[in-house]
Amino acid sequence: MSAPILNEKNKDLKKLVKREYKEGFVTDIESDTFEPGLDEDVIRRISAKKNEPEFMLEYRLKAFRSWLKMPEPSWAHIDYPKIDFQSIAYFSAPKEMPQLDSLDQVDPKLLETYAKLGIPLEEQKMMNNVAVDAVFDSVSVRTTFRETLSKAGVIFMPISEALQEHPELIKQYLGSVVPTKDNYYAALNAAVFSDGSFVYIPKGVRCPMELSTYFRINEMNTGQFERTLIIAEEGAYVSYLEGCTAPQRDENQLHAAVVELVAHKDAEIKYSTVQNWYPGDENGKGGIYNFVTKRGLCKGDNSKISWTQVETGSAITWKYPSCVLQGDNSVGEFYSVALTHNKQQADTGTKMIHMGKNTSSTIISKGISAGHGHNTYRGLVKILKGADNARNFSQCDSLLMGDQCGAHTFPYMEVQNPTANLEHEATTSKISEDQLFYLKQRGLGEEAAVSMIVNGFCKDVFRELPMEFAVEAQKLLEVSLEGAVG
């Protein structure tokens, strides 16, 4: 029987559940926000606010001047009205935010916000062994567990503070993986970023806990441009988690972040993201435009960088976490679940650039399209001439739910070395009627059956996430898909 599963009978299900974006509330808090608009003066003011060293201002201005000359990229499989970069405010910070020595000094409303989001900043209620940095609009409000970490020699602090305390490290590494001119949004970020997280793991140290940053956009008409920089010295290991939410607003908001990772010899960085920015409503009104540049450099031999992402939010996602495999025997991994529902659009994937010998990379991408969503995998595997014995395996699967959505796959393979071995597979399918009936015959309701099949589809990615995140991701997927069947 080949009738579509989404038949008349199932339409009732649509009415059953309407997806609510639970994180859509606004915190009423007094903010110090710049007027919308962007010019060199705004950049000087941001830099002055942050009391930055001179080199940083120069860096920003250089980036801004390149940005002005760059065209906005249009190659992605996404469609959105032109962004007016002059209507965005480039700095917003909760007032009453001097140096924080203890939680008592944090505005209770902020604590409340994070509590509502399920992110405990109070140390006694902390998740098991996870240190948290919380970024609210443009600034970091609180980093927990700093003392425990500093005993191990680990630096985990807002990048704005790192600029004061460790300017030499920032100067050495900032822009070393993603140069200011790398792309349009990276250049913009370099010019205007206001905060983000900085992580430094010294030689031979295995970071004693998971590090985590939660990003929150609150103010209206404010762009969020955070910058994350993680350095793992020789033999170091760190697992870093990132979560994102924003209020429900009718206007689109811009988020343009840059993440740079550097793994030295024998070091390993595991970077996990659960992205749940506000996706807009079912008619495509509102939502975050998420234009993000993430790149890791496996600089030393035997280094490893692993990206895992669960992307369920944002109206537009444009994001390609990549690995440059420079060291011999280095390893790059990319595990991704991207879900688009209603009118969401995602164009995401990865680049694996093999330069060293015996380098290997793995790409597992699972795209789910529902409603009017469009989901595109775009990836590049490049084997340079000197990269002897490079290995890559890529698997890109798409699951379609409903006949109004789309799933697209655009992998690129460029091989300049005959000892390379690359394998790419892609499939597109829907949830089969046989699978649904089988599970129903075993007593499961329609939603439970769909959720079970979707989770099975994503399993190869979920098992890469740290346990707490995996559970969260699974629930998020369930919530995001509510109402998708019908």
Binding site: S2, L400, V415, N421, H424, S429, K430
Partner: protein
């Protein structure tokens, strides 16, 4: 866009030569709009996404002239099949044996092709395609009326023998309902001669028509081959396209099929044997426009020396094209440290009840198989040659016409097994 340092005088120099004497309104109209299209896009460059891996500097730095008809001055192998021979793009009547009511030259068939000319072309053609429409001066036309079967195999040989010649040929296979034909198109030249062969074949397959099209490309090692095979398929039409590229300096092929009627099926097979400085760029596109169609694509590449291959395979499934079944495989074998393979398989799916997949690999011969052969007493060189041949032969095995398959097996064996043919 045409840039200042490119030699482009040849492009417009012969505007008045093309299809001389054919003062036909519809054709002139098409030529005019094709020229307008060309002026807008110019010759492609690496900045165009569809040409990013194919550098045309060498092509653009040369000058070309349109030649007038001349007679064949090389010897062709004997054949028992009916055969048409084109020399530098002009039909050589004396050398041709296959002309009939159904098989004619473009010049003699303008009335027949009016309804179909350019009907299969992409909406936004690249510069070479536009030039072809503007300047096409000859080509073959196969027109089968409803129910007609073209017995045996029709061979068409395009010989390029003049240095620095350019030919724009346009072929049409118009297969009405319930017809059947097998056409083998060969492109040959003498090594050492530089020329530009810009050739398009349009296939219009009616309801339940069966068309087998072979394109065997053995151009000069210094030649440029810009080719297109554009197919429209009606209800239940079965078309097989076989695209074998053995030589030429820079080859580009656009093989497109539009599946426009339910139950249509297209099979696209491709083989590239790259040697020397050969560059082959194959762009395939299957457009599933209606429900219940199937497509099956199988492209293989063997690259030696400094050769380079580009494969772009695109599958588009339109919004209402439910129950589509589309598969695409692209396998590349690199034999030399200076060879390069770039591949870009693409799926664009706008319907949900579909089964689509693509797979791509780049790699070497399987070491276990090599060891197995060696353990049976076969020397390393022969084992390598044998497995390479076997890799390529998987495409050849998909050919149903015995004579064509045998001939190609011999050609491929000759290319890959040099001196070891007794192995197969």
């Amino acid at each position: 866009m045409i840039t200042a340092n490119e030699n482009t005088s040849w492009i417009t120099a012969h505007a008045d030569v093309a299809l001389s004497g054919a003062n036909i309104a519809w054709l002139n109209q098409q030529r005019k709009s094709a020229l307008t299209q060309f002026e807008a896009v110019g010759l492609p460059g690496v900045r165009d996404e569809d040409w990013r891996y194919t550098n045309l500097r060498a092509l653009k730095s040369n000058d070309y002239a349109l030649t007038s008809a001349s007679s064949l001055n090389i010897e062709l192998a004997d054949t028992t099949n009916p055969r048409l021979v084109f020399v530098d793009g002009h039909l050589d009547q004396a050398a041709s044996t296959g002309l009939s009511d159904s098989v004619t030259s473009l010049k003699d068939s303008l009335e027949i092709v009016e309804a179909h000319f350019s009907s299969t072309l992409p909406k936004k053609p690249h510069g070479f395609t536009a030039l072809n429409t503007a300047y096409a001066h000859d080509g073959y036309v196969v027109h089968l009326k409803s129910g007609q079967v073209l017995e045996g195999v029709l061979e068409v040989v395009f010989v390029s023998q003049s240095a620095d010649a350019v030919s724009h040929t346009r072929n049409l296979i118009i297969a009405d309902a319930n017809t059947q034909c097998t056409i083998v198109e060969r492109h040959v030249g003498t090594h050492g001669t530089v020329y530009l062969n810009n050739v398009i074949t349009e296939v219009v397959a009616g309801d339940n028509a069966h068309v087998d099209h072979y394109k065997i490309q053995q151009e000069s090692n210094d030649a440029f081959h810009m080719g297109g095979v554009f197919i429209n398929q009606a209800k239940g039409a079965h078309v097989k396209s076989h695209n074998i590229a053995l030589s030429g300096l820079v080859t580009r092929n656009d093989i497109h099929s539009n599946l426009l009627g339910q139950g249509a099926h297209v099979e696209m097979n491709g083989l590239v044997i790259g040697q020397g400085r050969q560059h082959v760029d194959n762009h395939t596109e299957v457009n599933h426009a209606v429900p219940n169609c199937t497509s099956d694509e199988y492209y293989k590449t063997v690259l030696d020396d400094h050769s380079r291959s580009v494969f772009r395979g695109r599958i588009i499934v339109a919004k209402d094209a439910q129950l589509t079944n589309a598969d695409q495989q692209n396998n590349n074998l690199l034999l030399s440290k200076d060879a390069e393979a770039d591949c870009k398989p693409q799926l664009e799916i706008y319907a949900d009840d579909v089964k689509c997949s693509h797979g791509a690999t780049v790699g070497q011969l399987d070491p276990v198989s090599l060891f197995y052969l060696k353990s049976r007493g076969i020397d390393a060189k022969s084992a390598n040659a044998l497995l390479t041949f076997a890799f390529a032969n998987e495409v050849i095995e998909r050919i149903n016409v015995d004579s064509v398959r045998q001939e190609l097996t011999q050609i491929i064996a000759g290319e890959l097994l040099s001196g070891l043919e007794e192995l197969v």
